[in-house]
Amino acid sequence: DAGVTQSPTHLIKTRGQHVTLRCSPISGHKSVSWYQQVLGQGPQFIFQYYEKEERGRGNFPDRFSARQFPNYSSELNVNALLLGDSALYLCASSQHRDRGGNTIYFGEGSWLTVV
């Protein structure tokens, strides 16, 4: 079975532009989360979606938005890009929304460079 897949793998954008990152969860998984990993740091939680509804949001500005589609795939959108948005954006999926020991599986990430 395919794991979590993300696209594009690498992209370069200019300050002020908009970017859309895409994610397909593992088959059968209904929960998708997005994380930002800045170089040299651990991943930081951005959003969680479950059954197409936003279930949680991290400490990120309104320039960041996301949505989940009926097939459980997801998009992360970032508007008015800043240099500080340069990071690895990781998508993760899990089978349920539970708060227990449900394992979260990560994709390979999308490397975003803002110049």
Partner: protein
């Protein structure tokens, strides 16, 4: 609030020797703890998790972790290190966000770079 700490930025071990990567946690309620590994320019790979039960958890690639409630630690271990184990390791805890939050997110430590010399 839930948190994890990885006190060592880097751990250096000779191949064939045992290795330990340290992690301490702070949670309210039951701890759900995870270890992930990240190879250069790659995403995160799940290694193992502690939910309940045995304090010694076995995971992928020969890794194991010891849960110690009294010391609030969840150290990652391997009896005999391989050069291919060289990577960045993250300890993480599930943050259930409190009763008013429906989010179920993972909080990561700052990471420990493991370097295995031949």
């Amino acid at each position: 609030a839930q948190s994890v700490a990885q006190p060592e930025d880097q751990v250096n071990v000779a191949e064939g020797n045992p290795l330990t990567v340290k992690c301490t946690y702070s949670v309210s309620g039951n701890p759900y703890l995870f270890w992930y590994v990240q190879y250069p320019n790659r995403g995160l790979q799940f290694l193992l998790k502690y939910i309940t039960g045995d304090n010694l958890v076995k995971g992928s690639y020969g890794f194991e972790a010891e849960f110690n409630k009294s010391q609030t630690s969840f150290h990652l271990k391997k009896p005999s290190a391989l050069v291919s184990d060289s990577a960045l390791y993250f300890c993480a805890v599930r943050d259930n966000g409190g009763v008013d939050s429906s989010a179920s997110k993972i909080i990561f430590g700052s990471g420990t770079r493991l370097s295995i010399r031949p």
